[in-house]
Symmetry: C2
Subunit: 330 residues, 2 copies
Amino acid sequence: MRHHKLALCGEHYSEWFVNSTQRAIEKYKMFKPDANILVAVSGGKDSLALWDVLARLGYKADGLYIGLGIQGEIDYSDQSLACIRNFAQQNVPNAQLHVVDIAETYGKTIPEISRASTRGHGKPCSACGLTKRYVMNRLAAERGYDVLATGHNLDDEAAVLMQNTLHWQTGYLARQAPVLEASDGLAKKVKPFCRFYERETATYAVVRNIEYVYDECPHAVGNLTNFYKTLLNQLEAESPGAKLSFYVEFLKARQAGFFQAPADKSNLHACEVCGQPTTAPGRCAFCRMWNITAASGGALISPDAIAVRGDDAFDDVETRVAETVDVSGL
Amino acid sequence: MRHHKLALCGEHYSEWFVNSTQRAIEKYKMFKPDANILVAVSGGKDSLALWDVLARLGYKADGLYIGLGIQGEIDYSDQSLACIRNFAQQNVPNAQLHVVDIAETYGKTIPEISRASTRGHGKPCSACGLTKRYVMNRLAAERGYDVLATGHNLDDEAAVLMQNTLHWQTGYLARQAPVLEASDGLAKKVKPFCRFYERETATYAVVRNIEYVYDECPHAVGNLTNFYKTLLNQLEAESPGAKLSFYVEFLKARQAGFFQAPADKSNLHACEVCGQPTTAPGRCAFCRMWNITAASGGALISPDAIAVRGDDAFDDVETRVAETVDVSGL
């Protein structure tokens, strides 16, 4: 760890990593020791490492996997779920894993709904982001989780910060933070890894023998976020610690009141179909994109679509529905 | 001009460039038609182009050249002055050129005072910046100029903005603007070329047959500003117009009150030796660095040190002192 001037063996690295996560949780007031935490897991190194660390720290943390139906060279989504199940069985045997399969639930995979929609100029990323945010929020709120945790690392946060800064997206800048408080039916969101370099979360995953999906989403290759990551890597190479400083100094300036959020002209109210908070009049963006109407009753998740994993389930990856729960309201 | 989708011949390019400058002057309320303007000229393309454009627009604009005594492969400072004199004779024959030679005035060149000082970690750039700002301010104020104009272009401004942003230098961010109003004896400063890409000012200089010093200062090679310029050029190549958008959106956010300047704890008062405004108690940073004391009376510019050029002077580059003026107070 060049910027910390530290050289550690695997065991001490792991200890440093876990303790640093706890310090970030406390520093940014993410959650209390008895919180019910929902970790959004993709099958990548960051989210699996996060679930692992939270469990080792003694937190009650369940997982949520959203099956997007993305293929690519390696059958991306299926391989992701296999990694997660394998990890869960070995590392967090007492936790639950929620699985929401988008195609089973809403009738189309993400690439399919993207092609059918006008969002995103032919790229599925916009439809994917909207869908994931919706499902995460809704599941967290309806299952009574106190907080939704994601594995965003420093490279992710710095790239988004760079993007928001280069366009001076004042609304986004004023809101970008390791903690987004709950409001009007939106779950509280936290990023306990926001101060870790990507190479640090990768090292933790390796040290802990966590098997994860190495490839990034095939649709993310060459996107703008990766371009900003490349720029920031050049900066870091020129001046070690620059990425951390960029992000942390931003948070300090924000905390000191340097940014004045533009007046929020939007009012959240309930979507007339699903009841989730939205700024749009009538139906929310999610219900519009998926063409969910009042006529369909809003009960768009089939009872089988969410699998909840108990302690002894998941011996077989194919057994997706371990325990059926009533999700008619979801 | 890729981001404007314009293709122009030399004559129309020059017309577009001059008119755009006038629009920037008005948009940012830089100065009125009858203002007394002092243009800081280095001998590079930007400052000579600026002097040229202001004269063509009918403004009363004089020049100030500060001889820094910088050598390098081409005898940088002497060649700069030769370019400026040649330009002035041909393009602005009715304007005055003030020349302040630092070695003649203060006894050392910039590289020499830099070596004798603790500023700048062995690089002369910090000593140079301090000295130039001091001389520009003092000359503008004492000769009754309304405004000091510099040739900073968009690439310069965007690089400084990037540097201030990457470190979230909130004080600098809140102050970075095309216009810095006069205050407490500090001259008003303006940057009429702040919206021009560097390649645009270079094109103007070529179209107008302006001979300028191509090389940048030998001490600037490889500095951090140039590193940021390289990053921004990559961004521009990926997304044409990104550099302009980065700077202009920043100015808009600033104008809309997005940034809250940190409380200014510093009070300007007069340096006890030279009388120029300073935040330091006692002597200002300039007098300290140059070791100017009350005992030396503060009259540190010799009467010959400032040359003022009339209409018919400067036939010979060697004849530096064309007209001696009383500068004992400077």
